[in-house]
Amino acid sequence: MTELSEESVRMEVRTWLEQNWDENLGLVEWRSRLAGSGWGRPNWPQEWYGRGLSNNLATVVQEEIRQFGAVGAADSGVRMLAAATLLEHATDYIKDKLLHKIITGEDAWCQLFSEPGSGSDLAGLTTKAELKGDNWIINGQKVWTTSAHHANHGLLLARTDWDVPKHKGISYFVLDILQPGVEVRPLRQMNGHASFNEVFMTNAVIPKDMLVGKLNHGWEVAMTTLSHERRLADGLRQMGGTASKSKSKGKIFKELAAELKVESAPYKWYPQRAGRPDLTVNRARETGAINDPVIRQEVAKALTIHQANQWTGRRARQAQKLGRPPGPEGSLGKLAASHVARAAARAHTLTTGANSMLKGSDGDLNGIIAEVLLSVPAVSIAGGTDEIQRNIISERVLGLPKEPRSDTGPFKDVPRNVVS
């Protein structure tokens, strides 16, 4: 297939929008049109609601839809991870059943990977799947499940063979959350928010044909999900979620606003988790702390590492843009972000002084500063701890030897946590 030019793609999508866009449609109705036309997910294959365009051209289409003032396909939360994984690994039966509702946003998804007993060591998971007749019966517990309370589908990793090494006995399923065997409980965090859930599965049922990829090859499938999650997390770290600024009044925008409100709720505190280095200088000025030479030093340190991290990200993106081989600068953002967050939190504490003890409306910036101080510890844990990042950097970037392992035998013999 010859690659279409950017200009012709812009023209084509614009023409289509002019003929089809109607802000008085319902959100699902409009997105069904998008799905049917292939403009909702233009980089998906033609047989699955797409147009087989390159990622670059798909970005062009999204830009065009945004500039036109229309609404795009649903793209928030875990649904994009689900879509990427299903497109690559699932049967046509599953794709046919689920992809359309990912585009329309009718289905919401969650990711059932982490467990109380396996955090950094994801492959040590112990949720059990046993085949009984035509169904898989699931027993186990998941944790850190964002948005499970409003999801109806879950991407589930469960163990299907205990007699082989840990990575080789895991399978990947789609779980229907809305069934009696699945209980979702919100997990309250130290900062008071409850963005995550614990999910308990007690004899939960998965029809046999909802296995994604091959039996016992779930780890490979999970890698697809995780590689997309990393990209999503990078985005979240940068932005801390986005909100629609549209001023249009049509029915569709009301529905969109409601959707966004629900879906962005778990991420409200994410900017604070990053330490809000952007606020350090102004806070010091506004509070008068800027006149304290010690505080000036700490603000300068926070500012320095924040700027250096931003510039490092730009270096990585620029190298990519120029088609140069990726240097180490592209692998350090997550670890550096932890340092930035801590440096910023230190500066905020010094600037805020005794008021650092207060939160909510008693706290500075209506509680934002307290939320920073109480959220920063998460940044060096979520999405791979600093320690795991250092392992990855030292092994993959610096080429240092891997740790000797004691978990390479059959999984049933591997020492593991006792989870009550």
Binding site: A300, A308, W311, R314, E329, R390, N391
Partner: protein
Amino acid sequence: MLNGAVYSVVNSIQGTDMRYSFTDEQEQFRDFVRKFMSSHSATNAVRVQMETEQGYDRDVWKNLSESLGLPGLLIPEEYGGQGFGAIELGIALEEMGRSLLCAPYLGSSVLATTAILNTGTDKEKNQLLPDLAAGKKIAALALAEPSGQWDAASIETVAQESNGNYRINGTKSFVLDGSSADYIVVVARQENSVGEAGISFFIVDSSAAGLDKRLLDTVDETRKLSELKFTDVAAKPLGTVGDGAEALQQTLNLSYVALANEMMGGAQKLLENALEYAQLRVQFGRLIGSFQSMKHKLADLLMDVELAKSAVYYAAEAAAEGADDLPAVASLAKAFASDTYLKVAAACIQIHGGIGFTWENDTHLYFKRAKSSEVFLGGPDLHRERLIQNWQKS
């Protein structure tokens, strides 16, 4: 000679993206400089030069001047230089810092040359710069005094005028290459002036009567610092007498960036050395680089070095553009690079263990360079203070 013609494309491709990447031509330039340094400034050569009073090898300097034209990097072609900017200067210094080059480059080709570029009249530049560009003359910038401050307000050395003739009295210290220079660019103040007023630049011949030079015993033996005492020394004004404070600050801003790039080159080399040793040394039946304590330390160092690189490259481009944020980012880069260099140097000793504390191991050479660079032109706290003062963004 690599002249402007080869690299003319470099100066034409400038935009904000340049703060995040180098052109192919710049990478090629880096390769040339690195090759030169690896064949002329291996650490055994450094060890020979640091034991000498002069502190550098005249043949290497001649070669570096003639084959690479490095002393004239910043000097416009009309004055016999290469006509490049701060980015190429940063590349050159990064490579020099990597190999601990012993040469009057920072002192003469950066500090003194920039001062002349920023203050001299066209006539003075025509007189002075071609010889500096060709490496035929060495100049030193005498700014700091025994108080150890590199700013206009701290200057106590006085230039007295009588019938259009100037005589300098005072003591300068920490003068880089002050004993080996052919002439000294002295920053002094007019009689009875205070603060930034009355700051003036002068040229003093190294053999002038009343000039007493003393080579200081430096922690970093690869950097030769001198104390210069001026007793009624006859001096020729450079540029306009009395309004040199701004030119001085411009000179310093570029010098911070240059030194920051040099420090980063040293930090990068030390990281490589530490990494190499961690993959060589066996204890407890394993490479020490297989222990998490070592792996994590090295991962942290890589992060620090890469962040510092981003800062010094950004600052070099800001200097090349003469950007508004230069005063802030030059100081940011200086403070961050020096913290990083020292951290990497200390960690590199630690990773080497006992051998890292010996004279035989090269790490101490870098550690000492890191220590002297940390405070030369002002320490990191001072530069963080300057960052806050100059940070305009809200």
